[in-house]
Structures are given as C-alpha cells and as structure tokens.
Amino acid sequence: MASDNPSLSALAQPVVQTEPALFGAGGDSSAQRRLSSLTKEAWILASLKKRRGEFLTQHGLDVFVGTWNVNGRGPATGAELQVWLGAAGAAADLVVLGFQELDVRAEAFVYNNAAKDAEWTEAVEASLAAAAAGSGRRLAKVASKQLIGMFVMVYAQEAVAQRISGVQTASIGCGIMGMVGNKGAVAVRLAYMDTPMCFVCAHLAHDAAAVDKRNAQFHDLCKRLAFAADAEHAADPLTPRDVAGTYGGSGAADRPLTVFDHSYLVWLGDLNYRLAIDTGDMADVLARGDHAALLGLDQLRMAQLHRQAFAGFSEGEIGFRPTYKFAVGTGDYDERRRPAWCDRVLWWARPGCEDGVRCRSYTAAASVCMSDHKPVRAQLAVDAWTVDAERRRAVYLEVLRELDRFENECIPTATLEATVVDFGEVRYGQLERRRLRLANSGQVPLEYSFVATPSRAAAAAAWLRIAPDGGMLLPEQAVELELTVLVDQRTSAALSTLAEDLYDILVLHLRHGRDYFIQVQGAYQPSVFGMSLDVLVHCKSAVRSMRHADYEACLASGRFSVPKCIWSLTDFMSRYGVDRGFSLFQFPGDRALERRIRDWLDADEPLDPAAVLQWPDEGGGTGSPGPATAATAAPAEGAAPTSSRVSLTDQTLVPSTMQSAWSVLDAYHAPSTVDALERLSLGAWDSTLRTAPLGRSSSSDAGSASDNSTHEAETQPATANEQAAGVPIGGGSAAAAAVEVRHDAGVDAVASCLVELLRALPEPLVPTALHGLCIEAGGISRAAALEALETLPPGNLNVLVYLLAFLREAIERGAASAPRVAAVLAPALLRPLAPADSPGAEAFLALLLLHQ
C-alpha cells in the first residue's frame, strides 16, 4: 500500500509508518518540507471533514457485494443464486457481483470469448428480477467487465442508476508471465452523485506458500489498474476539485485515476490467502466454530498487520466457516487441502470519508454446493454525498485562512527593546557599550542573526561589534545583545575627516520570520589619531572644529610641516622629560591621562604641564608586588622623581605580538575571559613593554606578525589598570646590569601617546612599500640607512627627520637608549612588522639614531 499511493496512505495512517523515505533522507530539507506539506494536507482534510455538514448532503447507499469462485461450472441454478443473492441482493441500491474461474476452458485463455459471462449475466439478471418481482423496483445494469475467468457486474436500482455517472471499467492480468489474465483483476469505477467509488474483483495467486506473490500482485494491480481522468468528480467530496492536486492530494486533473482516487474502494474476489500453518486437527476447531483462533493464522490478516498488502483496508467480521475447499456438490471440506477464507470482501475509504462504510452483514452461502468455493456476500451501508460546490469552496477557503493564521502565529516574533541605539559622544580608542534586550514573544523557538546588507558584506560596520551576533531563544526567553563601538586607526580616518558618519543600520533577522532594522549612531569626536599624515601635516586648526571640506583644502595646500600634534608631544617630552632628567619610553602611560592628552591634541589645545605632571601615579599606589613597585605617586614639580632599577643593557626588547583590539574583544566573549580581559586592558605597546623578556638575544621567536589594526582598548578593569602604569619595564626579572632610572608618569603618558599616534597612522610613517629597503639597510651601515631614508616621500621624510632629531637629543642627554627607542618605535614606524624583520628594522632605526 505504501508503495502505491503514498499521499493517501500517509493521510490514512501515521506518516511515519507509511513514509519511511522521509526519514531515510536524514534531515534533508525537501523531505521535511514534504512531511510538513503532508501534515498540512491532513490537517486541511480533517478540518474540511469536521465541517462537511456545511457543504455535503449525505445520502445512504445500500451496496450488496458478492464474490464467488465458480470453478468453471454453471451457470448456477436460479435456486442457488437465490440463496446467494437473496432478497437483500434484489433490494440493494447497488449490486456488485464478482466471479472467478467463470471459464476455465483453454480457449477462454486464447480468445477471451464471452460465452460464459453471457450465460451468467442472464442467470443473475433473472434471479434478481425474480427476487424483486412485486416490489416495483427494477435493477438496471451499470457495467460489467470480463477478463478470461474474472467477471464483475454492477447493477443499480433504476432510480439510483440515474444518479450514476463517470462509469469506467478496467482489467489487468497478472498471472502467467505477470501479464496473462488467468490471475488479475477486473474493475468498475463510477460516481454516485458526487461520490466516486471503485470496485475491484481480483483473483490472486493460489498455493498456500505463495503469499508473497499474492501481496506483490495486490501492489501490481493497485499500480496498473487505471482509469481516464474524471473531469466531473474529485476523488474526494471534501476537496474542491479545482484545487485537488495542489492541496487536495488526488493529483492533477488530467492524470489517470488509480483505484485509490476514489472516495471508496471495494476489493472483492478470490484473494487466495490461506491459513499460515497447519494446526493439525482443524476439523475439531472448525466443528467448534472457533473462527478467532483460525483467523489469527489468516495470511491476509497478517499481511495487513505487517502492511505488506491491503494495509488500511477494512473487512466485516467473519462469522462464517472457511469458504474453500469443498468437495464439489457437498458441504464437506476437501481433505487434501487445508480450509481457508479465500473469498473476501474488503474496503478502503479515503481520508475524510473514513467511517463512510459500515458492514451490515458478511456471510457465506454454505448451502450452495455447485463449486469448490462457497459464494460470499457482504451488505455494506455506504455514505454518499451531494456537494454544494459554492459552499464547499467557501469552507475550503476559510480552512485555508485558518491554516494561514496558524502558520502566521508560528512565525517567530520578538520584542526588541529599541530600534535606535545611540552611543552619544564616541572618542578614538574608547570602547563604548550599549545593551539591547531581545525577547522571544512568539510561540516557537526563535533563531536570530545579524545579516549582511547590500551595502556591506559584514553584519555590522567595522567600528561595531555585536555579541552575541546570533543565537536561539525559546519562547519567553530573552537575551541582552551587547553592542560595542570602538573606533581605531582602521576606522578613525574616515570618521575624523567626516567622510563617514558613526551611523549604521543593522538588520536583525529572525529565521523564518521578520527583520528588524536597528539604527546605531554616535557622535564621533574627530581625532588626530588614525588620521593620515597627509592630513596631519596640513592641519591648521583643531580636528574637532574642521569640516569635511577643510580636509580637502588641507590636501590641496601643498605645504609640508611637522604635524602640530607630534610637535606638541615631543616639545612636552623635551621640556618636562629630557630637561628634567626623566627617562623616556621606559614605562607605559596611564590610560586615563592618555585620554586627556588625546583630547587636548584633538582640540588643538596645548598640553597642560600642571595637569600632566601632577597626574597621580596609579601604578605606584597599588602596584604589583616585586621590584617593579618602586614607582611612587604624584611626581609633581618638586616631588622626588620615581626611580626604579631597570636594565638598560637589553639590546632587543622584543615586541610581543600586537593584539588587535578587536581580536581581544572577540576573545572577551570566549569562555575563558580572564586572560582576554587582561589583554584587553593593556595597550599593545604596554604589553610589549611589560611582557618583553629581558636579555633576549634574538627576536625571532617574538610571536606572529603584528596586526596593523592594533590599538588600545580603553576599558580596562581597575586591577589591570593599576598594573598598566608605573610598572617598570622588565618586571621582576631585572638583569644584573640594572641601573637607577627616574621616570615621571605624566611624561610616560605623553611618550605613549606619541607611539600610539604613530601607530595609528593609516599608512605608517615609513611607507610599507619601503620597508624591505629600510630593513635591508639596517643590516648594512649607517650610510645605507641614510640612503634608504631618502627614498621616503618628502612629507614623511620631514616628519621622520624631525622625530629622529628629537630622539637623538634625548638619547644624547641620557633620557633613553638607542636600542630601547629603536625597539619601541620600529613596530610603530614600520607597520606591520614581521618578527623576522624586527632586528633589521630596529637596526635601521638605531643606525639613524647614532650621532655622527
């Protein structure tokens, strides 16, 4: 059954059992869709059935079904027919009689001649007429079909016959060679009012052991019995014909009908199923009339149970003795054969028409002894309908709407706290977070994700991160989406020059559901950090006050000078660091102070020495244990400069891998956050300083190539912050050759800002294209380094020469060592710097820092 009409069987039975292919596909979406479609189809049918009273008018139809294997004998006498058909046959609205072995002569196989069926027709008609005599009813022939020994005839009361249409017959042989009609079926289909039904009279393979063959023949017949399409009647009175095949399930209008494309399918005949095992003394059991015990061994029942054949078919209760095999002319079983219920009447009803057939009686005419089979008869009460097509269409549409409503309710829905997220003022390198609550307000699990838009391939602008950026929420669950804005040197230039706004529209997509647009905005405070050198050298006023057009004017001006921000920093270091004997580039700066300094630079205001120098040295107060805690607070004017012992002999302070701030952020959301937080809190340079091992002779193991998106993230937790400033470079592993170093937290911060500013240049001060040349020169001589220097563009050269002059003076006056300066600045000036190139780059700088 499953192989014959999956959609129907799927509806009649649990989908799981009849559609194993769906599950074999293992999560294949098309299988799931098909399953879903079948489920919906079943739901629609069930809903239509529930409401069928609104558009169907029910009419009872009494159907008399008889089947008889006549063993090539006959025709039967009037008396014998009378016993079989009786008054019930004559009184029925519809009479369906099936015969097997009507004609077993050899010529019947060859010529398929109709000699016998004419005789039988005459006899049956005479019998029925005789039984009806006096009742005023007359039976009219509706159809008959003969194939060799199989013969089916359908009669109807005249009044009923007038309401029958769409009559067709079919026959299929499936005996010898699978084709010959010694076995097979003949069938009649018709529509009574608006209810199509099909009657199949079959004769299946004999032999007790041939049960598999019988099962196969059943499926073969189901597949091959076919009728032309019925333009007038849908298989299913519940479904509007014009939508059948879309949601009705009965197939396209022009597709040949199968036996299942009917409201009812009645299957009668000598199905030849036997009893499965020899029970030994069957006579006793038969004598006791213990049919239940024997029926448990019935091959047909077992085939149904195991869904090998006739699955989904019903049968009346068998209250009669096995109908085969009798000694002809007697009521005695042929002792050479095991008795069996070969002759059966079963029916199948379409989903939606279940319960439309009731069996009033199911008996065998035991006293008819003409054949080795007894004739069997069933009286079926069948529900037939007339359809109000208009009404049905309306109900169908309402059901579809109901399904739509249901489906729409199953579309995930969410509550989103806001559709605008405003970050207010956003500064360079300063990380801002906002939270946005997303709750599943629907009835189904919700999967959400941020998706790309036509204007960008990523789910968010480069300066924005969303965490989590996707996930699933069960109904009533909620999640706090964290939106983080961080403008670094990758994104600052466009924002600072007002080429772009700090504005983005995120698309939050609910899988299988709607999209939300979330506007993210902020007021970015333009900064010299991340600005290109071309702009910086031309900037005449504060970047905060410039308009977009001003930048273009800058570029057009053709002037070269040292950017004011660089001058401000070096001038400060010169006056308050070098002049006062404090060392440079030895300690990372305080983050908060660096922020202040950046603000002054961006506003084009002078660095306020009082504020800078009096900045409390956080690191000194809480400092980490060990020799690194020597720094003391508030190195204001007059206060004793902080000192600590630090090695100045290390030639190669190795830059550790520069962490991209974003990569740190991403790591922040990873399960292990402690380390990530630590790294997040510390600028790359700071961590370079803090973690650089002393006394290394080689930098080749310093880690992976630095990432030019590096910059500091600003939201360090307090503990990390405390470590960030004032901790001397080298930590506790100070080498033997340590000397006393004086430092000032304010000067440290200014120095940090300078390094950061250089590192934030979109194009490094030494253009990437020239790195190879410079690194190579570093391995040769000062003359080669100077030669390489001259290849720089004039603007860059100008700035670099200025820087070198400042640094050289600082070194000369003991505020820094050349190797130290080279180690700190090389990664900022020649970005990105591969670890293998570090020695060359540092040597290049060191050579330039040498005094003649």
Partner: protein, 279 residues
C-alpha cells in the same frame, strides 16, 4: 438495462503513465510559493494592507514598520493554491538602501502610494523605476493607491494643484501616519484626494503595471490586489525554475531561503550565505 458505462479501457499510454508513476511522483504537489514585497513611502498604508489581507483587521494607529515584517497567506486561483510570502518593508527613506534585500528574488511587488499625498506617487514611481532596473525582469508589479476611504470629492483642478504644492511632502517623521487616520495638525485641511485615479492608471498602463485603488480601512480592493497579482504570475515558469534548481527551493520564500520549508522566509533564500531556508 441501461448500459451506462462502456468499457473505457484505459489506453495503453495512460496505463504506461500510471505504471510509471512512482510513489514520489504521485505525491501531492506543494502550493507554489511566491515571494512578494510591498514598497512605498512611509505611512501610505503598506502594513495596513497586509493586515487587512491576512487578518482582515485594521488598526487606526499603527507603529511604523522598522524592518521588514513577514507574513504568509494562501491565495486560491482557479486551478491552484499559491502561498504568498509577503515582505512588508519599512517605508522610511533611511532604510531605502536595504530594500534590495527584499525585492531581490521576489516574483511580485506591490508599490503603494497614498491617494491623498501626491508626493507619495512620485516616490512610488521611483520605486517602480528601481524595480524595473534592478529586480527580476519577470516580476509582476502592481501600483496601488491606498486610503480610498479618504477620497473626498476632489477639489477643483487649480485648487488641487495648489494644495499639492502647499503640502510638499513633510519631512520624514518618526511616527508614521496611520493609514487613513493621519493626525491632523490644527488648522490643517482634512486629507483629500490629490492623485486622480486616471492619472495613476495612465502611468501604470504605460509601465505595464497592474493598478488598483484600495482602502485598507474599509477593505475595498485589498483582496483583489493579491489575487490580481497572483493571476498575472507566470506560474509555469516559476514552478519550472524551482524544479530546475531544487537546491534553491527553500529560498523560495526568502528563503533566506531563507524560506524555506514549505513556508518560510523568502528572505532566507536571499541570504543563502547566512541560512539555508524558508519554510
């Protein structure tokens, strides 16, 4: 005896076809899934039209759509059922750049304007132009003039022109005016028809668009939009295209693909990189 049925023995080819019908082939066809997108200026009543069509309801005040709402509804034609996956997009200009996500891969578009605001027709025309340039060439486009319930007797010709000029399209407001129930500022004239049906129809005919006037408030013309669009779709072509690309069936909806199963998001399909779906 009336010989009602002669033996209509199935012709050999019918038998052959029947026999050839594998269980799979005999499975019921799925409803054809159509991705439809609604476009138009903000506050012309796009969401209200969809709500009227899908839920048969109307809300006087409706929050503007920030994003793209998704609903599904079946439409029955003479011989088939279509499942419309309807994407109701935000009308605000600032979301304009996201519209291609929704009209891309759509088989149908409904471009809505407000008959009481002449400028909204201009916007509709620019949408039509964009669709004709960028969307699926076989797309069925309908031009819909909404708020027919506000079509008070039209003012005289000159008056209408003057009114149109005076009421230059107001700046995009944060809250969309609800369909047909625009809040009237003090002293402002009640809304009246600014776009004559003939004008819009002539434009629609010239561009090969379906044209209808509707009222989401009264329901007039609403179902017709969707059925008329559905009728004009080349279903054979759509079904054929789907069959040819079984991998993209899902995306039929958005299918973000995202559509997906028999019934989910067409947007999903459009975003094949992010999802495999749709209902």
């Amino acid at each position: 005896m009336s010989q009602a049925g002669s033996a209509h023995n199935s012709p050999a080819d019918a038998l052959g076809r029947a026999a050839a019908e594998s269980p799979v082939a005999a499975a019921p066809a799925k409803p054809i899934q159509i991705k439809m997108v609604l476009l138009g200026e903000s506050a012309v009543g796009k969401s209200s039209l969809v709500l009227r069509f899908v839920n048969d309801e109307f809300k006087d005040y409706k929050e503007p759509t920030i994003g793209a709402a998704f609903l599904t509804q079946k439409v029955r034609l003479d011989d088939s059922v279509l499942k419309l996956d309807i994407w109701d997009t935000a009308g605000q200009e600032r979301f304009h750049s996201l519209a291609p996500m929704y009209y891309r891969n759509a088989q149908a578009a409904v471009v809505v304007y407000d008959i009481t605001r002449a400028a909204s027709l201009d916007k509709a025309k620019s949408w039509v132009k964009e669709l004709q340039r960028q969307a699926n060439t076989a797309m069925v486009i309908a031009l819909v003039g909404n708020k027919l319930d506000l079509a008070a007797p039209a003012p005289a010709e000159g008056e209408a022109a003057a009114a149109g000029e005076a009421e230059e399209e107001p700046a995009e407001s944060e809250t969309e005016r609800a369909d047909s129930e625009a809040e009237l500022a003090e002293g402002e004239a009640p809304p009246h028809r600014e776009v004559q049906a003939e004008t819009a129809r002539a434009y629609a005919e010239e561009q090969g668009l379906l044209f209808l006037e509707t009222s989401a408030k009264t329901g007039e013309g609403v179902v017709e939009i969707f059925t008329e669009v559905a009728k004009k779709l080349d279903l054979a072509q759509i079904a054929g295209a789907r069959a040819a690309r079984p991998g993209q069936l899902n995306s039929g909806s958005v299918n973000v693909g995202v559509l997906g199963d028999g019934g989910f998001g067409a947007a999903d399909a459009a975003r094949t990189n992010t999802e495999g779906c749709a209902c």
